[in-house]
């Protein structure tokens, strides 16, 4: 019913094109994340959806209604800003009540001093709503404070509360967690997911942090230089990126990439080793991508490298290996027990899981082809 649809949105600031024919459909109740590096146009797209920015071309519709020329206030969306944008002169309660006051009260009811007396019943209802939301977000003790007296995390909750007091069609969030410290950020991820489950309202969430996108979304849209490159559930985008840029952006540590070549006999030459493909391809240079967790240490491994760095995360250890023939260090995930036996600067052998290898054309597009799981010797 309240499906949101962006069709062929274009936007330039001056000469610089920021969005190039972007289209995206968002189902009702979905948690959709727009993720991409800084400056790729995520905020601009979100602001066009909210109406705060006007698109040069394209159509925005909400619930089947064309709202391209409708004011933000009338689109019934709520937004959480990166800077929170709380009104510093109003208490937390008044901040949260503002959207209700602006919408539900007539002009005279908004007058200072006498407004609350004239529209006493409406005020009581609104205060009830505010208290209810404050209860949900556990900020009831803060209701009388000013935003300046709150910590970053508390402000974040208040901003969320202000968005929640009325029932909007969708919540738009522009990097709401990026001003929080790391621990709180991880905690708030879980809490936002929980909130989404409870409210069952559409969330459109913008972030540059692929981890946030992977953990929270039902679907994510990866944006780069003004285009949406791929839309899909996080698992699918992680396992099946449709181009090299998406593969590189999603996942941390980043995917390993190697320049390789498909030989005239249809085999793949990869850093000194020849691997067979499920179906042979014509001879061409390709890029091979393989994630660190799909490489493993093995005494009989076909590749070898020198350990240059051990990145110990406790549960996992990422080994950075210098491999002859590879331009960058190769990152390999090992479990701590295996990693304990490895010493710096020593030579190790490793291998790959052939069915997890991704092949890309030299232009960056994905090749729909996999390695054979068993080598035909």
């Amino acid at each position: 019913m309240s499906k949101i649809s962006l069709q062929s949105i274009e936007k330039s600031f001056g000469e610089t094109p920021v969005l190039k024919q972007v289209s995206l459909d968002i189902e009702e109740g979905e948690f959709v994340t727009l993720v991409g590096p800084s400056g790729c146009g995520k905020s601009t797209l979100l602001r066009i959806l909210s109406g705060l920015e006007q698109a040069d071309a394209g159509r925005v519709s909400i619930g089947g209604m064309n709202v391209t020329d409708v004011r933000p206030a009338e689109r019934n969306l709520a937004m959480v800003f990166q800077s929170y944008a709380l009104y510093p002169h109003l208490s937390v309660a008044d901040n949260m009540m503002t959207p209700l006051r602006m919408r539900d009260l007539p002009m005279w009811g908004r007058l200072p001093m006498i407004g609350p007396l004239l529209a006493r019943d409406t005020y009581r209802v609104m205060q009830g709503q505010v208290r209810e939301v404050a209860e949900t977000l556990k900020i009831t003790p803060l209701l009388d404070r000013k935003p300046g007296q709150l910590s970053g995390g508390q402000r974040q909750r208040v901003a969320l509360g202000r968005a929640m007091v009325r029932q909007p069609v969708a919540f738009l969030m522009d990097e709401p967690l990026s001003n929080l410290d790391a621990a709180l950020r991880v905690h708030m991820r879980a809490e936002l997911s929980e909130l989404h489950r409870r409210l069952k309202t559409t969330f459109v969430y913008v972030t540059h942090d692929q981890a946030e996108a992977l953990t929270m979304s039902d679907r994510m849209a990866v944006m780069m230089h003004g285009n949406i490159l791929q839309v899909g559930p996080p698992d699918e985008i992680y396992a099946n990126p449709n181009c090299l840029e998406v593969a590189r952006f999603i996942g941390s540590p980043a995917i390993n990439t190697f320049a390789a070549e498909i030989q005239s006999d249809g085999h793949l030459a990869l850093i000194g080793t020849t691997l067979s493909l499920v179906q042979p391809l014509t001879r061409a240079p390709v890029t091979v991508g393989i994630r660190p967790e799909h490489l493993f240490l093995s005494p009989t491994g076909r590749f070898q490298g020198h350990v240059r760095y051990r990145e110990n995360l406790g549960s996992d250890v990422f080994l950075h290996l210098d491999v002859e023939g590879a331009q960058q260090p190769v990152v390999l995930r090992a479990n701590p027990a295996q990693a304990a036996q490895v010493t710096l600067r020593n030579r190790v052998c490793f291998d790959l899981e052939p069915d997890k290898v991704l092949l890309f054309q030299s232009t960056g597009e994905r090749l729909p082809c996999a390695l054979a799981t068993r080598e035909v010797a």
Partner: protein, 306 residues
């Protein structure tokens, strides 16, 4: 237990300087205000509060307060209001606004004493452009306005030399001269409002310009406004050069423009009555002091968005 005296060395110089250049002169003025001292006299009689008694009883000083307060209470609200209006207009204009900014700020930069000559010319009853323009309107619909009809019938007022009009005319020039200053202060205030607050207001349903003004602009300008009002009060209390330029003798028709600063100058310098001049100065300082205290109270109570 030995206590270090280092702190004295830290605050000492600043304290000494403050005493020498601020407190001693004020103390001297306060001391003089209790005497009938004249410059050049070897001594002076202690007269107690006689000078103050004069200030609060004689009709000359009643006129002084009348002129000062009329000027202040007309000029302050209007310069603040116009300053805010002009600032908001310029702020919304973007680049073209720079031209207006320069134009509106010109009177602030121009010496008022030089500008006074131009205004004297403009308000001249026979060759002045103001009355000439008003006469053009005679015979039109404007004559329905009784005041206008009277002006056409006889003559339009002697703006600067009629005791019913003089103080208002001077106030008008004061507004013309002063609002550009407030505008610049307000522009700085407007620039520092985070644009995301307007976005938030829009999302919250503030649709009209008035809603946005009430919800964001005005509260966010609170600290600026307190400062602007205080500065305007102090500046208008200090008006002097215009009065001196228009009315070198005696403070205008029937002393209707006899403002405080001019009174201090006339008594203390021209007539060499240092005692009474000092007394007016002390009263003036008291006003400024009260204003400053009110400002501090506001800053701490209302507009401090911790």
């Amino acid at each position: 237990m030995q206590q270090s005296r280092a702190h004295l060395w830290f605050i000492g110089p600043a304290l000494a300087l403050m005493v020498v250049i601020l407190l001693i002169p004020i103390a001297i003025a306060a001391g003089l205000s209790l005497t009938d001292y004249s410059l050049g006299n070897s001594g002076a009689e202690f007269v107690g509060l006689e000078n103050y008694e004069k200030i609060f009883t004689r009709s000359t000083y009643e006129k002084m307060f009348g002129a000062t307060f009329r000027y202040v209470f007309v000029v302050v609200p209007l310069t603040v209001g116009l300053g805010l209006g002009a600032a908001m207009m310029i702020h919304s204009l973007g680049r073209i606004g720079d031209i207006y900014k320069t134009i509106y700020f010109l009177p602030v930069m121009a010496a008022l004493i030089a500008m006074a000559i131009v205004w004297e010319f403009a308000f001249h009853p026979t060759i002045g452009v103001v009355n000439a323009t008003l006469e053009r309107g005679c015979g039109t619909i404007l004559e329905n306005w009784a005041w206008y009809a009277k002006g056409c019938e006889r003559t339009f007022p002697l703006w600067l030399n009629d005791r019913d009009y003089a103080i208002w005319t001077v106030s008008f020039i004061g507004i013309w001269q002063g609002f550009g200053f407030n505008m610049v202060l307000y522009l700085a205030g407007l620039t520092s409002i985070p644009p995301s607050l307007y976005d938030a207001a829009e999302m919250d349903g503030a649709q009209s310009g008035w809603d946005r003004f009430r919800l964001v602009t005005w509260p966010m300008l609170g600290p600026t406004t307190v400062f602007v009002i205080t500065i305007s009060f102090i500046r208008t209390f200090q008006v002097f050069d215009m009065v001196e330029a228009f009315y070198p003798q005696g403070g205008g028709p029937s002393k209707s423009v006899y403002v405080m600063m001019f009174a201090i100058y006339e008594k203390g310098i021209q007539q060499n009555l240092m005692g009474i001049g000092a007394a007016i100065t002390v009263v003036f300082l008291a006003f400024v002091m009260i204003l400053t205290l009110i400002q501090r109270w506001f800053v701490e109570r209302r507009t401090h968005y911790v």
